[in-house]
């Protein structure tokens, strides 16, 4: 997967799909607010890979922002004003329109992805070959 991304064959996009309510929505908004300061993936990792219950609260998010060295005042204002609410809502509506109903769901060029990493890699390789064949023809 790393090779596919590093060689420019594929790119990876993460999109919010809120199914667990306000805490999930808050985490998504906090992540987008961190993204304003270039720390989107740091918050993503914190929430997805090493999440703690307190992280999903306002105080926890602010503490995390402080730990990441962000401008806490700016971050707090962004979170309190729900500045990225519409962006997240738009992602949600688009996902539903694309037929997404659960998480995690993968799409390869809009097509349903396999439910395994090896399956996704195979799909990406097949799509890359197809793209090369189209360019060749």
């Amino acid at each position: 997967m790393e090779e596919l991304i590093s060689t420019g064959v594929a790119r990876y996009e993460y999109r919010h799909f809120i199914i667990f309510g306000s805490a999930s929505q808050f985490a998504a908004m906090a992540t987008e607010c961190a993204g304003d300061q270039g720390a989107w993936w740091e918050f993503h990792d914190a929430y997805l890979l090493k999440a703690q219950a307190r992280t999903f609260t306002r105080a926890g998010a602010i503490e995390l922002a402080r730990d990441e060295g962000l401008n806490v005042a700016q971050f707090t204002q962004c979170v309190d004003n729900e500045e990225h609410h519409d962006r997240i809502l738009q992602m949600q509506q688009q996902a539903i329109a694309d037929g997404v109903s659960g998480t995690p769901t993968f799409r390869i060029n809009g097509q349903p992805g396999a439910r395994s990493l090896s399956g996704i890699i195979e799909q990406v390789h097949a799509a890359a070959e197809a793209a090369q064949n189209e360019e060749g023809s």
Partner: protein
């Protein structure tokens, strides 16, 4: 006359002086003499007994040492591989040097056995490491089995790290070349 009286006085004073010096340390009585002889003989008896006891103990120790050395030599030969056997020998052994040597020899043999075992254990450790590595290698297979929950999160983590750690962040939620022909999209929830 005066000279005679002076001689008498001198002799009397000499007698007095002699009597006073002898009275400071009275001569021992016969009873006291007897007690002293008994004490000396008792001390001599005790010393002789202890010497003989030490000699006996040395003999016993040598005998037991030889016997235990033979036992200690026999124990490994019998295939007693545990330290428990050696410990049993130690428990039976006396204080003799022979026994100590036998124990040391047996311990040395055990030490060699332990040293021989250590690489074997190391080999097992490597095997375990290999198993761990192979288990690590199976992460992909685990993820390949698909399903929701932890397996999917592990898969997501691998995807993220593959691009994230490589410094391929394009913008916010995008990793990799924004113009890449293939887009892998993940819809997910942090909770």
């Amino acid at each position: 006359m005066l000279l005679r009286m002076g001689l008498v006085l001198v002799s009397a004073s000499l007698l007095l002086a002699a009597c006073t010096s002898e009275s400071d340390e009275p001569p021992p009585s016969s009873a006291q003499m007897a007690e002293g002889q008994q004490e000396e003989s008792a001390m001599a008896y005790e010393a002789g007994e202890s010497e003989s006891a030490e000699q006996e103990s040395e003999v016993e120790a040598e005998q037991s040492g030889e016997a235990l050395q033979e036992e200690a030599e026999r124990v490994p030969a019998q295939g007693g591989d545990g330290q428990g056997d050696t410990d049993a020998v130690v428990a039976q052994s006396g204080d003799g040097e022979g026994a100590e040597q036998a124990v040391q020899e047996s311990q040395a043999e055990d030490g060699q056995e332990e040293q021989e075992r250590v690489p074997a254990q190391g080999g097992d450790g490597e095997g375990e490491t290999e198993q761990v590595v192979s288990q690590g290698g199976d992460e992909e297979d685990v993820a390949a089995q698909g399903g929701d929950g932890g397996e999917a999160e592990a898969m997501v983590g691998m995807i993220i790290e593959s691009g994230h750690r490589a410094g391929l962040i394009a913008n916010r939620n995008v990793v990799g070349n924004p113009d890449a022909p293939i887009v892998i999209t993940e819809y997910s929830d942090f909770l």
